[in-house]
Structures are given as structure tokens and as C-alpha cells.
């Protein structure tokens, strides 16, 4: 985001009004020859500026941004309703390789164990089928709403989805020669009824764990060329 607005709207109004009151009080104190009056007036003026410009130098210094709430996921799943998951992993490969592999959606089930299949409908739209309990299937069609080659893929579900969700994956070069930080954001609105229990079954009590395992497998595939397994190895009998 290139704008230097880093204060949310409600907070800006509060700053402006509070600042005005503080400045007025300070000016009155100054008139009464109180030395603290100047400080109150200065602080009040700063708050008015913060409210008017939406920029807080203090927030800037510590890296806080309360205005940046309008990214792709939250735009489409307003408020605190959905389940929010954010996971990150560093993969020892260039961003372009990782982007290219991820963008091939039909290959995603290789490392996202819970996804049964993905079918690419056209360049932007894809149809997803996820395995639920007892052979139940959960389906949706997703469209890409934001895409920057080698950097970002953002998507959301279209009308008629079993689960309303939105998400993004960002590929950010890691410091030095450490490869790429892959950041996944996913938000979904858990539905009620049978589909809801299927979703709960897939993601369990900790949806972030499911996403983390998917990212781990993606990393294994991209770094090691295969995912380690013990499934199918011999073991002794339990008696």
C-alpha cells in the first residue's frame, strides 16, 4: 500500500475531536499562565493533524497500521465472522519457481491432502472438490481476484459455493540467499448443517495446522522433490 494513511477512520475522528478538546484546554491554561498549557496545546494540535491527515508518525515509527484492513480476504468476508488463518514458511527456491508451481492449481492436491481435485475452468476460475467424512464432498468454484506474477495470487469463492472463502498466497524473497517466504492467508465462513460438520472434520480444531501441513508438503516437494513418508513400510504385529 503506497498511501501513508495508517490510522483507521473511527480512530481519525476520535483523534481530531480529542485533539481539538486538548488544544482548547491547553490554550485556556496558557491564558491562565500555566506552563503546562503549551504542552497540552501542542499535543492537541498533533492529534488534530493525525485526525485530518490519517497519518500518525508514532504508528509509523513502530510499524502499526490500523487503516490497512482492506486486503483481499477481509474485503470479501467482512468483520470477524469467518475463520482466519495465516501461515508462513520459508522455502529454499526462487519465488518464480514457487509461483509457477502453485499457479498450476490442478497440481495442488499433491500437497494439500484434504483437496480431492481441482479443475481449471478458464484462466481465472477453478472448481475445487474436497474430501469430507463418509464420502461427503464439499465443492466450490473460485476465481482469482488479484494476481501479480511471481508475487501474489488472491482468490475468492463464487456464488453457490458450499463454503464461502477467500485467500491469498504471497511469495516474498527471504533475506540473503534463503529463498522465499510463502505467506498464506485464508478466511472462510463456516456454514451450518452437514457441510459445516464436514468442514469442521476436515480442518479439525486447529485449521492453521491443516494449512501448515499443506505448506510443509509444498516445501518438501519444492526442496526435496518428494514428500517423506512411512506409509507402506513394514511393521510388526500388535498383539
Amino acid at each position: 500500500m503506497t498511501s501513508d494513511v495508517n490510522v483507521a477512520d473511527v480512530e481519525r475522528w476520535a483523534s481530531a475531536l480529542g485533539g481539538a478538546a486538548l488544544a482548547a484546554y491547553g490554550i485556556k491554561q496558557l491564558k491562565d499562565r500555566s506552563p503546562a498549557g503549551a504542552a497540552f496545546a501542542a499535543a492537541g494540535t498533533a492529534l488534530i493533524m493525525r485526525g485530518a491527515t490519517g497519518h500518525c508518525p508514532m504508528y509509523d515509527a513502530v510499524g502499526i497500521n490500523t487503516a490497512d484492513e482492506r486486503d483481499d480476504t477481509r474485503e470479501h468476508l467482512a468483520g470477524a465472522r469467518g475463520v482466519n488463518v495465516e501461515e508462513v514458511v520459508t522455502i529454499n527456491r526462487p519465488a518464480s519457481d514457487l509461483y509457477r508451481c502453485w499457479r498450476d492449481f490442478e497440481m495442488l492436491p499433491r500437497f494439500m491432502e484434504y483437496v480431492d481435485s481441482v479443475r481449471q475452468l478458464d484462466h481465472r476460475r477453478s472448481h475445487w472438490i474436497v474430501k469430507g467424512p463418509a464420502g461427503r464432498r464439499v465443492e466450490w468454484t473460485a476465481e482469482i481476484i488479484n494476481e501479480i506474477a511471481d508475487e501474489l495470487i488472491g482468490w475468492r469463492t463464487l456464488d453457490g459455493a458450499d463454503v464461502v472463502s477467500a485467500g491469498s498466497v504471497r511469495f516474498v524473497p527471504a533475506p540473503g540467499a534463503r529463498g522465499t517466504q510463502v505467506r498464506v492467508r485464508l478466511q472462510y465462513d463456516p456454514p451450518g448443517g452437514k457441510i459445516g460438520s464436514a468442514i469442521a472434520w476436515i480442518f479439525g480444531a486447529e485449521p492453521s495446522q491443516t494449512i501448515r501441513e499443506g505448506l510443509r508438503r509444498f516445501k518438501q516437494l519444492m526442496e526435496a522433490g518428494e514428500m517423506p513418508t512411512t506409509s507402506g513400510q513394514p511393521r510388526g504385529g500388535a498383539r
Binding site: Q220, E223, A224, E226, T230, R235, G236, G237
Partner: protein
């Protein structure tokens, strides 16, 4: 095939299990000609390592002949004679590329289990609990080796199994323990525990230029081996005060570096050792670190404590004040095997060391269960057991 299977605490059995198969492109299947029981396997027998399951195949020190390779494995071919390292590494992640092989990011299928306990996961290991990957081990006739294009080292003909088998774990482990001591001429190194890793730590400390090695144990046969084979001065903690002896032997300074080759199931003759036994027996502590405590206490100011002994959980009453006050450095962790296998094979080939000196027992695989108990209970005579899955072992 036949394999040694864990059924529970104090219950291991040799039984028939299915043969292993290639599961991934970089795998290989090895027909095992020699395999050993490690001191750390006794922690499994004693049931102190979490996440074991009935049916698990044990063993992480093995070698043999490649009989099958996966389609993406271009490093090995059928017929190659190899020693397999106990740690499994992908070769491509940040950690492998930094030569921190035992910290590989990609070789543990159950990484999440370790993350819950340790924050981040370490590499997968053969036959050493599900938390460490759940891989079937090598106390068997055959084993599947994942990422077999990275770990196994080829062994030329004309050198016996027994001379190279311990490149799979204990020789590199003892060597890294000594290397971690940053030895300079005139250094005195004290080694707690004269089991096989301790024996190799002693030899390695001398190979790396130590002036003197002092070995500490309570078992006469082990101390004898440390003195006769390793050339160490010895302290029997059953009869002597370790701190007083070390101080006296080092002219009042203390050892420059202390190696704890004992780990989480230490036995000791001091008050804190009994305290640990009671706490662990009543499930109020997981590890019994009295060798580590003593190593910290005895180490000279500004010295190094090197820890090849295995720890798994939470340690009680560690004298951290002493460690801080004396400005100690700690070095530890599973061995970064692939750093050491080739250089140490070269040392063996050059005749600088013959690792077979630690072997006291040679047993057919069929008698492995019995050998575990011999190793644990008959400590006076048993230091290292080698199993012969393809027959040919003479019973000791």
C-alpha cells in the same frame, strides 16, 4: 523378512514382517549384512522415549548391499556396498546446505509432533519413535532408506563390515563430540560415560590433538577399555570424588572441555543421582541429567561442555548459575553425519583407527532380543553388540 520389533517397555521380539518396498523416487532398499545395538536403543527398551508404538522396527546402525533403487536415485546402484547414517537428510533445505544435516527440514514426516514439543522439528531418524519420523529401522534383514542419494556412503572392497559399521552413528558421534571441544594442544578433555560413544570420543579427542583425556564411568570393563584402547586416564565414580580428582589431575584448573556421553538415563553415586531416579520414577521429571550437572560443575572457567548424550525432555536442577558464572559454552545435538562419514572412512582406510575395537558381542539377528537385555543388564562385559541378519555370526 525377520526384524526386531518393539512391543512395549522391556519387550522386544524378533519376528516375521513384510519386506520393505520403494516408496519414493530417491529411496533405496538395503540388504543388511551388519547392524548394531546402540546405547540409545536401551532408552527405547526402557520405555523412556515418547511416541513409540507397538510394532515399530528398531535399529539405526546398519550397513549392507543395495538391492533396489528408486527411479530418481542416480547416486546408488544395485550391488553397491553402503553404510547408512542414522539421520535422514534431504540435502537441499537451508539446514542441509549449511551442513547441519541432523536438522534437515524435510525428512521427518511427523515434524508436527516435534514442533509441539521443541518449537521446530529436527531430521527423521531410523527406528527411533514416531516423533522422530516413525521410520522402520535396520535391525532387520532389509531396510528402506529414504533420500538414499544423500546419506549412504559407498564402501570399497577389502575392508571388513566391522571396521566401517560404526560410521553409521557412534564413530561420527564421538568425533563430533570431540570436535565440538575446539581442542588445542595442551588441552585436557574429560569424558563422562565410557560406552561406545564415549570410547570414540576419547579416541577422537586424541586424534584432534588433545594432551590428555580423562574418562569417567562406574563400570570397570568400560574403564579398562578406555585406558587400554583409548589411552585415557580413568576415574571410577563409584570409588572416587570426580570433582576432586579432576581438579587434582588438572593442576587445580579443571578440564578445558567436558563431554557428556551419558545422556538422559545417567547412573551415578551422588545424592542428586538418587534424587533424579526418584523424580523420574514418580513421573516428576523426564530425564536424569546428573552426568551433565557434574560436567558443568567440573568444567574449567571459559570451557566447553559438549553433549553427544541424548536428552529428550525437561531437565531438573541444572546448575545454570555455575554455567553462567564460569562463562561456559555448550555444544550439543544429533550428529551431522554426512559431514564426518567420508573423512572418517579415510582415517579408517589409512589405518589411523580401527573402530571394531568396541565390539564385545557378535550375535545372529534371531537372538537380538536376548542381546538387548545382555547389553543393558550385563554391563560389565557387554559394550557393543553387532547383529548379523544374514547369518555367519559366531556366538560370543
Amino acid at each position: 523378512m525377520k526384524a526386531l520389533v518393539w512391543h512395549g517397555t522391556n519387550d522386544v521380539r524378533v519376528e516375521r514382517v513384510p519386506d520393505p518396498e520403494i516408496l519414493n523416487g530417491r529411496d533405496a532398499i538395503v540388504k543388511i549384512t551388519s547392524t548394531a545395538i546402540c546405547g540409545s536403543d536401551l532408552h527405547l527398551l526402557d520405555g523412556v522415549i515418547p511416541t513409540m508404538k507397538e510394532g515399530d522396527i528398531l535399529g539405526h546402525e546398519f550397513m549392507g548391499e543395495v538391492v533396489e533403487v528408486g527411479r530418481h536415485n542416480t547416486a546408488l546402484k544395485v550391488g553397491d556396498r553402503v553404510v547408512v547414517p542414522f539421520t535422514i537428510a534431504c540435502g537441499h533445505c537451508f539446514f542441509c546446505q549449511k551442513q547441519l544435516w541432523s536438522l534437515c527440514d524435510n525428512s521427518n514426516p511427523n515434524a508436527w509432533m516435534v514442533e509441539k514439543r521443541y518449537g521446530f522439528s529436527c531430521a527423521g531418524l531410523f527406528g527411533y519413535s514416531h516423533m522422530m519420523g516413525g521410520y522402520a529401522g535396520g535391525q532387520a534383514e532389509y531396510a528402506r532408506v529414504p533420500f538414499a542419494d544423500v546419506g549412504p556412503i559407498k564402501i570399497p572392497d577389502g575392508i571388513s563390515d566391522e571396521q566401517v559399521l560404526f560410521l553409521s552413528d557412534i564413530f561420527p558421534t564421538g568425533y563430533m563430540a570431540a570436535e565440538n571441544c575446539a581442542i588445542t594442544p595442551a588441552d585436557t578433555i574429560a569424558v563422562w560415560g565410557c560406552g561406545p560413544v564415549g570410547q570414540f570420543a576419547i579416541k577422537s579427542a586424541y586424534l584432534l590433538g588433545a594432551e590428555r583425556v580423562i574418562a569417567i564411568d562406574g563400570v570397570p570393563a568400560r574403564l579398562r577399555m578406555a585406558a587400554e584402547q583409548g589411552g585415557a586416564d580413568v576415574i571410577n565414580f563409584e570409588h572416587e570424588d570426580v570433582f576432586d580428582r579432576l581438579k587434582e589431575m588438572t593442576g587445580g584448573m579443571g578440564p578445558d572441555a567436558c563431554i557428556d556421553a551419558v545422556g538422559l538415563e545417567a547412573h551415578g553415586a551422588t545424592l542428586d543421582a538418587y534424587y533424579d531416579q526418584i523424580k523420574a520414577a514418580t513421573f516428576r521429571a523426564t530425564d536424569r541429567p546428573n552426568a551433565l550437572r557434574q560436567a558443568i560443575h567440573c568444567c574449567r572457567k571459559g570451557g566447553i561442555v559438549s553433549i553427544p548424550g541424548v536428552y529428550g525432555g525437561f531437565l531438573d536442577k541444572i546448575p545454570f548459575g555455575a554455567a553462567f558464572g564460569k562463562g561456559l559454552t555448550f555444544k550439543m545435538g544429533q550428529t551431522h553425519m554426512m559431514r564426518y562419514m567420508k573423512p572418517l572412512l579415510d582415517l579408517v582406510q589409512a589405518g589411523a583407527i580401527d573402530p571394531s575395537f568396541v565390539i564385545t558381542h557378535r550375535v545372529p539377528l534371531d537372538r537380538a532380543a536376548e542381546a538387548y537385555k545382555t547389553f543393558r543388564d550385563d554391563k560389565d562385559h557387554c559394550i557393543k553388540v553387532v547383529l548379523k541378519p544374514q547369518g555367519g555370526a559366531t556366538v560370543h
